[in-house]
Structures are given as structure tokens and as C-alpha cells.
């Protein structure tokens, strides 16, 4: 069982993470540090697996903005997870061009294989999955991506999905 953060548990940002934040902030003019919010939330999510309220509060403090300015952004954009997810979140494109080459059967297969509904986490904490909107890879559908690296898997078949899930299980158990 993977440990997932309790929503109320305070988070600590490591010095390495803070130095990555500082690098992002340096890209914008003086006083425009709020521009760093989206990139910083990506860094937080890559580190902790999701963006918890305590983490968002710390980000607000770091950027000297109000917590609500962070919440409203994290809840507007689809990439930020407001609750813990599986270690591997399989995001399958479900929009038109992928749909006509078989996105729905792929999602049905994933649901059956993992045994969890869209948005839920497998009991071992390894996987979750969801349908997402167009991933701009329409010539190579069906496609899915897995964060935080956002590795891409194209021209999916049920066989290639089985292999992918098997490989990820193997990777997690090593």
C-alpha cells in the first residue's frame, strides 16, 4: 500500500524543490512572480502526486499571494489533482479523432483490467485512469499519457494496454 497524504497533513518543501521554484520565478519580471503558479503546481504534483490544500497554502505563501488565488487555478485546470491518485494515472484521450479509431473500447478494457471505475484508485494504490480531452496526437490514436513525465503511448490496442499495465506493475514491484 502506497502512502498517500492526508489532506490535513502539513507538507514540507525540500530545499531542492524550493530551488526549482526560484528558478521558475526568475523567468518573469520583478513583482510578476504569480506567473510561476502553474509551473510550480506541476512541480508540487510531481513531488507529492497531487496538490493538497496544505501544499497549495505553502505555494501561496511562497509566491506571496492569497491561498484562494492558488485554489481557483488548481481547480480550473484539469491537470492538477485535488485528491490522491494512483501512482500511475492512465489518461486516455476520448475526443473525436481518437474516439473514431477506438478510444471507448480501450477505456472499457482498462476499466475491466484494473477493476476500478474512472477516477478511482486500485486497492494497491498503483493505478487510476480517466478519459481526458484531446491530447493533440490525433494521427496516432487511440493514445494515453501517464504523468508526471507525461509519457505517451500511441496506437493503443488491448494487447499493448495489457503489456503496459504489466510493465508498470513490474516496475513498481522492483
Amino acid at each position: 500500500m502506497l502512502s498517500v497524504q492526508d489532506t490535513n497533513t502539513p507538507v514540507t518543501f525540500s530545499p531542492e524543490l524550493i530551488s526549482k521554484f526560484a528558478d521558475v520565478v526568475s523567468r518573469y519580471p520583478e513583482g510578476k512572480q504569480k506567473s510561476a503558479l502553474l509551473p510550480i503546481l506541476h512541480l508540487v504534483q510531481a513531488e507529492f502526486g497531487w496538490t493538497s490544500v496544505p501544499a497549495m497554502d505553502k505555494v501561496a505563501e511562497y509566491l506571496a499571494i492569497q491561498p484562494i488565488e492558488v485554489y481557483e487555478v488548481a481547480s480550473f485546470y484539469t491537470m492538477y489533482f485535488l485528491k490522491p491518485q494512483g501512482k500511475y494515472m492512465l489518461e486516455v484521450c476520448r475526443t473525436g479523432p481518437c474516439e473514431i479509431v477506438g478510444a471507448t473500447p480501450i477505456m472499457e478494457h482498462i476499466e475491466k483490467t484494473l477493476g476500478v471505475k474512472e477516477g478511482d484508485v486500485t486497492p494497491d494504490g498503483l493505478f487510476s485512469w480517466r478519459g481526458v480531452e484531446c491530447l493533440a496526437a490525433c494521427g496516432f490514436g487511440p493514445v494515453l499519457q501517464i504523468g508526471p513525465e507525461y509519457t505517451f503511448y500511441e496506437n493503443l490496442t488491448t494487447e499493448s494496454v495489457d503489456k503496459l499495465i504489466g510493465d508498470l506493475k513490474g516496475k513498481a514491484n522492483n
Binding site: 523567468r27 502553474l38 488565488e69 487555478v73 485546470y77 476520448r94 475526443t95 484531446c134 490525433c138 507525461y150
Partner: protein
């Protein structure tokens, strides 16, 4: 075979590295622009080229640049729109993945032309691999003296940064993109003021699509007049087309504008025809937002002339019998595809992506999705088609940004051209869940106008 201006070297091993890109003549446009031209002369070349914005709107790039306000002592920005999310479009991902230095080179030349000292490439957040590719390319270019202080000893300084988005289609709209780049929700701004006057941080800003910026490189290398010789009429130069759907050879193709659509669709140089020997039923020519056309109206205009891949020819007939070039997101539908299901899928997309700022779009996109869902799943009513057209008309033109129009057009056009298929879903609700309507008359030759009139 048509000349390639952007993708000529795409298959050269290592073209994603500075050294190989440079050995193929890369960064010559930076040298030429910074050392031999003034910023205004660069703008003039782009104007002469007739280049039209490749993100979808098709507005002349040189003209957009010339609108940029230049008040003394105020920073100016160039922001590249790499938030590629229009369903059917994947050319920018392809370009950034395989030939990132072309975009970097274009950014340097364009920033110089506009007098920007800091420029950003806003890449959709899901493209993390491409973000890393671009950051590596920027570091390489900087190490070789093409970015940073005093570029090539000319005294011009430029810093270039990559900004990730957060997964929101709306941020492809330029003012939503700027809001997002400022660390806010992607709510489009009311225009005017246009970004050319008050854009990023309230400063004059130009926002250009990846392909538009990349096209500046051949324009500067060869001259605007030479570029304008390619293409047809006001559709000058080459265009990247993202070809997807039920095609034998999907992929990204660089075409001379003006190529006959039939040749693009069926020749082995391009899409190679429809996959699995099936017949073409319908085409979305320029990304999910543009009107869908049945095969017969796509291949020929209403006057029975062969349709061309150009801004004008695709738009021939207006929305009654034509469509739009859009972003070049080309989706082909074979005879087994269901137009009702596709329209519902797109409606769901726009409902999901509406930012919620304007009521007609926020409420209307959800309403259309709901009605299309019931039609697809056998609970539709005969009055639903008129209802959908009515809702779409009330969204269109009544929103701050074009997402409302983009949501309305695919629904209205699907009903305009495929009404009998929608009606069949109402009259045959059970059958519609087990089989598709098929190709019907959608690929039949168009009636001659005189016959139709007679």
C-alpha cells in the same frame, strides 16, 4: 513533389540538436535578420509573404505585428501559442518534437522584429516531453550565442522561456493564454484593448502560433516575395496539415496551399485514401470547430468545382456548403462512422472546455451535449434538431471569445448536412444503438445546379 519549407530536414538524424540543425543551414535567418536587416524590414518581409496565422484564425501575421504599440520605455512581449488542443490538430507537437530549433530560430527573428527582450513559449502542460525538448534546444542555442546578451555581437539581447499550461483548451485563445501566463484562470479578456496594445502584464504583446513563428524562418531566408509565390491567391506559402481519422496514412503533411483536396486525400504522397478500403463519408477540414461536410460537398464546391486546400476554396459556399481552413486539423470519417455520436462527442468536449465566464456558452454547451446524448442513445425527439440549431444560434456571436462559436458550428453544420441521419436516430431508436446509419447519399455526386433548380 511540393517543396518543403518547414519539414525539409525533419528526417535527418539528430536534427533536434543544434549542431545538426545548424549544419543544414539552421540559424541563417537569425544571422541575416540581426546582421543585415532592421526590425521594420523583418516585419516588411513577413507582410510581403502574405503569411496568415496558422493557429486557426488566418489573420495576416505581418499585419498583426505592425499593430504592436511601441510606447517608449515599456517592455514588449512575443508569446508563442503552443497550447495545441484543437481536436484533430497535432502539427505543433510534431514540429516541436522533431525540429525544435526551427521554432527557437523563428522566435529569435520574430522577437527581434518586435523589439521583445523577453519571450515566452506557452506549451500545453500535457506536452511535458516537448517542454523538455524545447528547454534543451534553448540551452544549446544560448551556449552558442544565439540567445542571451548581445546575440552574435549585434547588441540585441533576448531571453526565451518555456511556460507550461495546466490542461485547458481555452488557453489556446490568446487573451486566455495571457491570463494563464500571468498565473490566473484561463478566462478570455474582453477586447478591446487587444494584446497589441495591452497584453502580457498590460504591455504590448504579440501572440503567434508555433507554425506561424516557424514560417518566419524560410520567409527571412528566401524573402517574403519568394514565399508569396508558393500557394494560391491570398493563401500563400505552405501549410502543415494534421491528417487523422480513418485514413490509410495519417500524419503531419506539409502542403503547398492550393493542393486539390482529392489529391491530398487519395494520393500516396499524402493520406493514401481511406483505411481498410472503405468509402469517405465526411470530413472535418480544419479542426473540430469548423463545419463538418459530407464527402460530396467536401470534394467539390456547390458549383461542382474541385475544392482546393486553401483558405478561400475551403470556405467557398460560406457555411451553407463550405467550411474553413482553421488550424489544418483534418479528420476523415469513413462510411461506418456515426455523425450523431461524433457531434455529441464534440459537444461534450466544448462543454468540458467552456471556461464558464459567459452564460450562453456555459449553459448552451451543456444543453447541446445533453440533447445530443439523448439522440445518440435513442431517447431523442423530432423537435431536438430544431432545438439544437436554436441553442447554437443563441451561443454564436454572444460570447467574449470564439469558443462559443467553435461549439456552435459543428452542431449546426452536422444538422444542416446530416439531418436525415439525426432523424433516423429518432425514428429508429433501437436500431440506432446497434448499427450505424451508413454512408447513405453523402458521397453521391452533387446534382448539377440547373437540374437542382429545375
Amino acid at each position: 513533389m511540393a517543396r518543403k519549407l518547414l519539414l525539409e530536414h525533419i528526417n535527418v538524424p539528430g536534427i533536434n540538436t543544434f549542431d545538426v540543425y545548424r549544419s543544414k543551414g539552421g540559424y541563417a535567418a537569425v544571422e541575416k535578420a540581426l546582421k543585415t536587416l532592421t526590425p521594420d524590414e523583418v516585419v516588411e518581409e513577413v507582410k510581403k509573404s502574405g503569411l496568415r496565422g496558422r493557429g486557426g484564425a488566418g489573420f495576416p501575421t505581418g499585419m498583426k505585428w505592425s499593430f504592436l504599440a511601441k510606447p517608449e520605455g515599456v517592455a514588449r512581449y512575443l508569446v508563442c501559442n503552443a497550447d495545441e488542443s484543437e481536436p484533430g490538430t497535432f502539427k505543433d507537437r510534431y514540429l516541436m518534437t522533431h525540429i525544435p530549433h526551427l521554432l527557437i530560430e523563428g522566435m529569435i527573428v520574430a522577437s527581434f522584429a518586435l523589439g521583445a527582450k523577453t519571450s515566452y513559449i506557452y506549451v500545453r502542460g500535457e506536452m511535458m516531453p516537448q517542454i523538455r525538448i524545447l528547454e534543451k534546444a534553448i540551452a544549446e542555442a544560448k551556449a552558442k550565442g544565439f540567445l542571451g546578451k548581445n546575440i552574435l555581437g549585434t547588441g540585441y539581447d533576448l531571453e526565451l522561456y518555456v511556460q507550461p499550461g495546466g490542461g485547458a483548451y481555452i488557453c489556446g485563445e490568446e487573451t486566455a493564454l495571457l491570463e494563464s501566463l500571468e498565473g490566473k484562470r484561463g478566462n478570455p479578456r474582453i477586447k478591446p484593448p487587444f494584446p497589441a496594445i495591452a497584453g502580457l502584464y498590460g504591455c504590448p504583446t504579440v501572440v503567434n502560433n508555433v507554425e506561424s513563428i516557424a514560417a518566419v524562418v524560410p520567409i527571412i531566408n528566401e524573402g517574403g516575395d519568394e514565399y508569396a509565390k508558393l500557394g494560391i491567391g491570398r493563401s500563400t506559402g505552405t501549410k502543415l496539415i494534421s491528417a487523422g481519422g480513418n485514413l490509410r496514412k495519417p500524419g503531419v503533411y506539409e502542403i503547398d496551399l492550393g493542393l486539390p483536396v482529392e489529391e491530398f486525400l487519395y494520393s500516396d504522397e499524402y493520406c493514401g485514401g481511406i483505411a481498410n478500403g472503405k468509402r469517405l463519408k465526411a470530413v472535418v477540414a480544419g479542426g473540430s470547430s469548423v463545419p463538418i461536410l459530407p464527402a460530396n460537398l467536401f470534394l467539390k464546391t456547390i458549383n461542382n468545382e474541385a475544392r482546393l486546400m486553401s483558405y478561400e476554396s475551403l470556405a467557398d459556399g460560406g457555411f451553407v456548403s463550405g467550411t474553413m481552413m482553421g488550424s489544418g486539423g483534418f479528420i476523415a470519417y469513413d462510411e461506418d462512422q456515426c455523425i450523431v455520436r461524433n457531434t455529441w462527442n464534440f459537444a461534450r468536449f466544448y462543454h468540458h472546455e467552456s471556461c464558464g465566464q459567459c452564460s450562453p456558452c456555459r449553459e448552451g454547451t451543456g444543453w447541446m451535449e445533453k440533447v445530443l446524448h439523448r439522440l445518440e442513445y435513442g431517447h431523442g425527439k423530432m423537435s431536438d434538431m430544431d432545438l439544437l440549431v436554436d441553442v447554437s444560434k443563441k451561443i454564436e456571436g454572444n460570447t467574449i471569445c470564439p469558443l462559443g462559436d467553435a461549439a456552435a458550428w459543428p452542431v449546426a453544420s452536422a444538422i444542416r448536412h446530416f439531418r436525415d441521419e439525426f432523424e433516423w436516430h429518432v425514428t429508429h431508436p433501437h436500431e440506432a444503438t446497434t448499427r450505424n446509419f451508413g454512408i447513405a447519399h453523402y458521397a453521391d455526386p452533387l446534382p448539377k445546379l440547373e437540374e437542382a433548380a429545375g
